[in-house]
């Protein structure tokens, strides 16, 4: 079903909106949650919470990109849940975080940390400078949380080549953030 039709179901307060959402985006949302939490039960609950939030938010909201909008909710809920149970083993998010350490800018003479919104804006600008393919690889890895192996399977690019591409992208983001005077 088209996204717009699903949104229409939410507007009509028709419960099949949830079923249609689950059918179309359930797998994607579950994988976003799993990539952060590495736990099926937690991930399932997070996805269910996502449906609840969607039901309560549409209307009045009318997401332009329903999948991305739902994915953001899942990702945020997953991160919150991960922070709550810090006692866990090394999960998907920790691997991503350790890779993203490469992006942390070393900006001198900055005493205050940049606001989160400023960092996002800078990342958006940096994403805009990338070739589309590179942008997609970065977002698949660090937004959707695909492992390099999954991404390799999806793109038919050898895992090694992708890893080095990711490494170059992280370095490039670091340099960009430094140029923009972003401090984290």
């Amino acid at each position: 079903m088209e996204d717009a039709k699903i949104i229409e179901l939410y507007y009509a307060r028709n419960e099949s909106a949830i079923a249609e959402t689950e059918r179309k985006f359930g797998k994607m949302l579950f994988s976003i949650a799993m990539n952060v939490l590495s736990n099926p039960e937690d991930s399932e609950e997070t996805v269910n919470d996502t449906y609840g939030k969607a039901w309560n938010s549409i209307p009045p909201q009318k997401p332009d990109f329903l999948g991305a909008w739902l994915g953001k909710i899942t990702r945020n809920l997953s991160i919150s849940r991960w922070r709550k149970n810090k006692a866990q083993k090394r999960s998907g998010i920790e691997i991503m975080l350790s890779e993203l350490e490469d992006c942390v800018p070393s900006v001198e003479n900055t005493e205050e940390e940049s606001e989160s919104g400023e960092i996002t804006s800078a990342i958006n600008r940096w994403l805009g400078t990338l070739e589309k393919e590179e942008r997609i690889y970065f977002i698949r890895r660090y937004w959707y949380g695909d492992s390099v192996a999954e991404l390799s399977a999806r793109t038919n690019i050898p895992a090694k080549k992708l890893s080095s591409k990711m490494f170059r992208l992280r370095k490039s983001l670091k340099e960009f953030l430094e140029k923009e005077g972003i401090s984290v």
Binding site: D3, F65, K72, I93, W143, I157
Partner: protein, 530 residues
Amino acid sequence: MKSERIFDAITEINEEYIEEAKAEEVKRKKKPFWKIAGMAAAFFIGVVALGIIGRILLPGASAGGGTNREPGSDYMSYSGPAFPLTALEDTSGLEFERNVDFDFSPYYNHQESYENSKGEMVYYDSWDNDAVIRDNYTVTNTTDEDITFTAVYPFAGNFRTALSRIPKITVDGKTVETELKIGPYSGGFAPAWGDEGGSESLNLSSLESWDEYKILLESGEYLKDALAENPSLDQEVIVYSFGIDYNIPMEEFDQIENADLLIDVNFNEEKSGVLNYGFNGMFRNEEGRKTFNTHIPKSFSPDFGKQKIYLIVTGEDIEIAEAKAVAGMGDYEKRPETDAVTVTMERFETTFGELMFNMVDYSDEMIKYGSQEEATIRDLVSSEEYVGYVAEFLYAHGQLSENPAERYSFGRLDDVISEVGHVSRVMYVTFEVTVPAGETLEIGTSTIREASYDFFGSREKMDLEGFDMVTRLGTNLNIIKQTASVSNTEEIEIVYNNFGFDLQSGITSVLLGDEEHYWMEIAKIRSGEN
């Protein structure tokens, strides 16, 4: 950890970028695809191609709506028009008068409820965005001999929704038995990223306007395909079937992180084709060989105890270089092998059709875990028939096609089996009618039709929903008069139409002229607005 701030900031990046990177739209590098010799099914490839050509030739056909769209034109979600009745035989000597009534009673409010997270029942007003379309014919036999013909009534739909939307047919008020005939996929394929994708065929592209149906149906070839037998899948294939024996108690296995099965294969892509079923993905390992991967189910997984994992080889046999289970974090290739399970492998030879039946039957089992709507596929067609439609799709667009859509280039049969249930089609109910010499009878059809929809609305109005009909497309009947009417309109307003309806002036029934296509766009009157 400072990277957490970057990770958080990435969450809020532009949604356009997130959308751009959606899983199903990630561009795969093109690989040469091994084709199975002598297996073209040109008879319906041509018809489906018509749909694709239509999308290219018609100005604005793929625009998919937007704020500047004209009312009654293309929709983001198009349900298709009400088509006229037709006949398989020549019906000279018969005259038909047609009236199409759009009954909007489903738009009336009714109460629905759901249980919220606190266990409380919540009640709310709801309504359906459907109309009941009664497309009725008065048939007069002007000759002095009885005339018998096979009537054919078309409707647009798909496997998942068809059962609730099959037209009900009456002759002189009595319900008659009908036979269902199902046409091939009516749409085409489109690039993942709009025009810049050129001729890419990564996304499904359903018909969005009546003009596209016109191109699909007017030659009559599509109906012929719907009435024809589906192709068989009698070619021999070599099958490698993989299984899992658990070596430790399930409560222990359930704690193991990321247990996956990896099958490393070695073959000449020019001489062998390898299709797969039950795998989650495939990657090129460091030696450049293909490695197929899938998860190993835990006790709580829906497919636990039911998982079927196949590599299906057409052409020369392949070498299974390695079959192993790995577990832990990180890239597949770096994960240590686990002895928590033993991977078993069986090689056998069979026909593609027999194997496919096994897979479809298994998919039907999986449907039980899906929604009620999905379960209706089982009531619509048998597993054997479903295999026929899968075969038809494979020959037209999938791995057995001479020109497969890039969407299926990975060789995942699971995708095709599932897709066959989703894609839009034109279906037909057929029934026999005898009109006695010099007499008149009534043929009644009643179909529940969901509204066509364009989320962005047209002109100043949002939330508009479309219903339409065609007067001549695909029919060989001598229809001497056509009228249309609307009924139960209390909950709707007709915002735009070319029928000539005017609810405020009480014009609810009109004589139709020479137009090929009549349409209306309506809006639900919401509480407090009327």
